[in-house]
């Protein structure tokens, strides 16, 4: 079992990276099913469980950056147990879901802990140290690889029952709380943008954008187009003012 568990861990590490980087989608359960099936010597069951998980988890995609239950660990552990225990795919899903949800929480935590590293990156940027920037990105990849490999290895090597019991000792409110925090987190990013971009003269456009989304529920593209329309109007007004009546500002002050 050790060799199989290690190979599955290797696969989990690779597709764990693919989930965010590369995005060739070899991390989807339909592909993982085939690969885990090959590793465990039962391709047909692997394909069937993987295909079933794929259909069930079709909607588990990171829409607007929100983290869904983790499809990598769900797919790897689901298909592995589907084959090892010989259960039907729906039971495999039942085993996989607590893992998928727990890993979702851990990923939220990882995205939080990795934030301080950005200050090192700022320093590298200031120094023009491109190698430093590259190292930070490779570090992120390495952590993801090890993280997924370990998470996949443990339950497969030690057995599903122990692992499930252990996962269930994590109180639900912690997982919920991390996921709520993950939903609020973009506010910090937007606040940082505001800090850089906001000037008193621009507040009105910020308000327009907010109202269009909050009250009229317009999609972002339409809001961007409205913003573009305003910006074009502003641009041509300015240009006109600049070319034709150069001393426009003076005129106004003179009038007063």
């Amino acid at each position: 079992m050790l060799l199989e568990a290690l190979l599955i861990a290797l696969w989990a590490g690779i597709v764990g990276i693919d989930l965010f980087n590369g995005l060739t989608h070899i991390h989807r359960p339909v592909v993982t099913g085939l690969v885990v099936g090959i590793i465990l010597g039962d391709v047909t069951t692997g394909l069937i469980v993987g295909g079933t998980l794929e259909l069930i988890w079709m909607g588990m995609v990171p829409l607007a950056g929100a983290q869904p239950p983790n499809v990598v660990i769900g797919g790897v552990i689901g298909t592995a147990f589907g084959i090892i225990i010989g259960q039907d795919p729906n039971v495999a899903v039942g085993i996989a879901i607590p893992f998928a949800v727990a890993v979702q929480g851990l990923i939220t935590l990882f995205f939080t802990i990795f934030s301080p590293v950005m200050h090192k990156a700022d320093q590298f940027a200031l120094e023009g140290n491109y190698k430093g920037i590259e190292r930070i990105n490779y570090l992120g990849l390495a952590i993801l690889f090890v993280f997924y490999a370990v998470i996949a290895f443990l339950p497969i090597f030690f057995g599903a029952e122990q692992a499930s019991a252990y996962v269930e000792t994590v109180p639900q409110w912690i997982l919920d709380g991390l996921s709520i925090a993950g939903g609020i987190m973009p506010a910090i990013g937007f606040a940082m943008l505001l800090k850089i971009m906001m000037k008193v003269e621009y507040i009105m456009f910020f308000i327009v954008g907010f109202v269009l989304a909050a009250y009229l529920n317009l999609p972002i593209l339409s809001i961007a187009l409205i913003g573009l329309a305003i910006a074009l109007y502003d641009f041509y007004q300015n240009k006109k003012g600049n070319n034709n009546s150069g001393p426009r500002e003076e005129e106004i002050t003179d009038g007063i």
Binding site: T24, V30, G50, F114, I180, M192, L212, A214, I220
Partner: protein, 271 residues
């Protein structure tokens, strides 16, 4: 306030098709260092880096440009190459840094929404659906067909948009050359309009608490907060974060506060 204009103001040589392809490959690692403070910023900078080094031979300009691109950035990981193309064109022409930032931010939000609709809600369900239906019958070609179909579109779009964005950027800039300060003003207008919309759309902050008294039920979110103003909490929380940042609090502190808010909210069943 440091200058928004690059020291070396002469346009750099155009990037070759080969260089653009190389950068498109690098864009695969856009989310390698994803985190809640800057999201894709360091990966975005990683993707652009060889291009920026080719464009900015001046050490100070390279440092300025790298610093700018470490600012918060988040878009769709498939469509990012379009923004890369446009931004590289602007960097190459040594556009005003504020204009570059404005255009970058104005594009990242809409492309995020379009990418979700194109890839996650259309392409993935279709190709994975075909693959899964074959796999369930035990057919080995299920996963292979899925990967081929999906990545044909994925890589086609990724590399195509890089070229398209760059060519379009170069063309648009030469047309807009007069009145650069108005361009950066216009870019800031679109950028801030989009940020206003993003806050209402993408910050998920809802009160799930329902106040009960005998027969009467009062859902705080739907019956009270949404009546006063929809997306009030996302706006309020973002402005609070903005205020704390201006007060000199570090983003790390804000992330810590947010995690605590989430945990407390879940523990007391409020959020």
């Amino acid at each position: 306030m440091e200058s928004n204009i690059y020291e070396d103001n002469t346009s750099a040589q155009e990037l070759s098709a080969r260089q653009l392809r190389h950068l498109a490959w690098r864009s695969l690692l856009l989310q390698a260092s994803f985190n809640y403070e800057r999201m894709q910023a360091a990966g975005w900078l990683y993707s652009l880096l060889p291009g920026l080094r080719y464009i900015h031979k001046n050490k100070k300009d390279l440092s300025k440009s790298m610093k700018d691109h470490m600012e918060f950035f988040n878009t769709h990981p498939f469509l990012v190459t379009f923004i890369m193309g446009v931004i590289l064109a602007m960097e190459q022409k040594k556009e005003d840094r504020e204009a570059i930032r404005g255009i970058k931010i104005a594009m990242m939000g809409p492309l995020g929404g379009i990418g979700d609709a194109m890839f996650y809600l259309t392409l993935l369900p279709i190709t994975a659906g075909i693959g899964a239906s074959l796999a369930i019958e035990g057919n080995v070609f299920g996963p292979i067909v899925f990967l081929l179909l999906f990545n044909l579109v994925h890589f086609g779009v990724r590399f195509g948009l890089m070229n398209y964005g760059y060519k379009m950027g170069v063309k648009a800039i030469s047309k807009l050359k007069e009145g650069t300060q108005f361009v950066s003003r216009a870019a800031s207008i679109v950028g801030l309009t989009v940020v206003g919309g993003l806050i209402a759309t993408y910050v998920a902050f809802n009160v799930s608490y329902v106040w009960k008294s005998g027969e009467a039920e009062l859902a705080i979110q739907a019956d009270v907060l949404d009546q006063i103003m929809p997306a009030m909490l996302p706006l309020g929380y973002t402005l609070l974060m903005y205020w704390l940042l201006k007060k000199g609090r570090s983003p790390i502190t804000l992330i810590g506060i947010t995690v605590i808010v989430g945990l407390l909210g879940a523990y007391f069943n409020i959020l």
